[in-house]
Amino acid sequence: MERAVEIKNLDKSYEETPVLKNLNLNIPKGTVFGLIGPNGAGKSTLIGILTGLLSFESGEISIHGMKLDTKNELEIKKITASVLQPPLLFEQFSSLEFIEYVCEIYEVEKEGLIEKAYSLMDYFDIKDFAKIKVNKLSSGSRKKLAFVTSVLVEPKLLLLDEPFEAVDVISIDRMKTVIRKLKAKGVTIIVTSHILEVVENLCDDIAILHKGSIKAYLDSVSRKELQKDSSLHEIFEKYVEVERKEEIVDWL
């Protein structure tokens, strides 16, 4: 199967603290890929590197067959979109101005863009905020606006860092529907989340990241096998070696 992302021996540190250690990961094209891990595992750092916002010390990354370096940087950025946590939006713009600005940069076909934008905003119940300044939106609406914009730029690789955080249940379901539609169109989607039920239900392959390296890679076959006896939650706990600490709070 063709790979959307190939990561070999990736190392990343913040000053002296290593965050990603000799990380290897391959993500197949046209799949929804779940990246799970406890807080501080390095998920956001990995997404930051894939979006080109963070540099890395050593290793190699290829996106759609192009090596992630200064030479291919712009080509890769053209086919990649992301929703970071917290989402990056233009605070002094209205929601629609923001969408128009970003789509123009990504050279999205202008014809029908506004209609598409309104229809997606309507789907996520943020249509009424089209002309409202972004800095006046609630955290859930901000997340939805960032998601809508990232979909409208028609990426081949969509990076979603905790996209369901602060979003209501109905909108989570709608996000899942949109993600499935994108997958059907051949888009690769990488999702990080702490809501394991959603990841389990939405993703084809799942990787467990812990202390800067991949502890387990669960493709559809191995997941079926493993999940016969245990839930994703239990598998997750096993791989991140959850320390039982109940006795600490015995005093409660």
Partner: protein, 473 residues
Amino acid sequence: MVVVLMDSDPWMQMQLPWLTPDIYTFILLVFGNAYWVMHFSFTNMRLMNIEENRKLLGFGFPLKRLAKYLTIIGFCHPVNIIYNLTWLVFLLIQVRSAYQAFVAIAAVALNYVLIYSIKHRFIRVVEKRFIAVVVGFLFLVFGLFQLVSLFASNSRRIFAELIPQVETVNAFLSWLPGGMLIQTVTKDYGWLNASIIFFFAVILIGLTVIDHLNKTKEGLLNPGLKKAEEESSTLWVLLRKVMGRNAGKYYFYVMKHPYNRLQVLTLTVIPIVYVPLLLNVEFEMAKTILIPTILAGIPVALLAMGMANMYGYENREFLLHLQFPVNLEKQLKERFLGVILLPLLVFYLITVFELLVIPEIGSPVQIFVANTFFFLMFMLLFVWSSYFQYQKATYSSFSYKHPIIPQKVTFAISFLIFSMGYLVFVPLNGLEWYRLTIMSTVIVIMAIYLWRHMEVLVNLFKNRVLMRLWSEL
């Protein structure tokens, strides 16, 4: 202090024969009232920090106690304490009877709580009508300057007309707030009246503090709501057309910042007031140094608004620009040149104005080279500040209290503008050509270096700012 303490000294009376008791009272009253206006303007309420402190309510901190503590800490701001102590010293050195001291202390306390209470309400008005209040304030300043200039140029005639009427003026001034405070120590009103005044002052203080306490409680429970109203941004559409998407967006952010709007207004008013004043001054040096320095300072201040903290306006959202499929160097270059555009335009307008209206300040070449040098030197300072003094800018209505340019940079600018003015504009007569040659050479070297090494902006950004943006929440 000299006037207050030494007015009856024989030597003083000999040195200042015009210091009659009426003029003495007049000086005290002018000082008292002017000081009251300053006290009112500078009374600071920042320590209350209601938005931050209200979080304590979530941890179960009792509302009443929190309001009480915030009221106390708000009253204890060091600047406010200094003003009140100065009042006490100023009044108590004039006290003649013990009862005056008690009344003066009560009056100072009452004055403070009233100022505090009025400002509390005034701030709400400011929040709603920010521009109107600022324009009003600037007109007041403008009026004051005009008044001072009128007084300075006609002081003899004014004194001659004022002296016969000084008693009437004093009567008026003594019923203004500062005057009333002075009256507490200059009038003889006896123990009985003093007790009554003291008693009512204490009751008023108590009522005002209770009112303030209630307002604080109300503020803690009702934080400012974000109004979600539709806003049209014709400014953005215009800037986008004129400057392009990238630089246009940046300038839009710069111009949306309330602090900058205030700066622009100030920058417009200052030369309108000062330049005509200085043009009438007989001292030639004032014209040749101060006028060009003030005028050269205008584009510099505009440049500071845009360039001294280039990433402070957008903060973390700038990371989205980095994800765009547009070369970072191109983006930074566009912003850099965009920021220079308006100050440069103003710079040329000022240079032409100087050449046409006040040619006596120097030859065209001198003015042009000196102004360019002045501008470029500050540009370097601002580029340094942008990368090494980055700080997040806020967009609250009161951000004029939290300027986007770090205060140390502002102080450096103010100091350097005048130092540079002396360096660049002081007439050197025979040595002028040496200075012109040095300045021209530096200008050419700097321009060529910057043009050929724009990547320095990218490297500085990656090394100094990027990680701060990434980790900023």
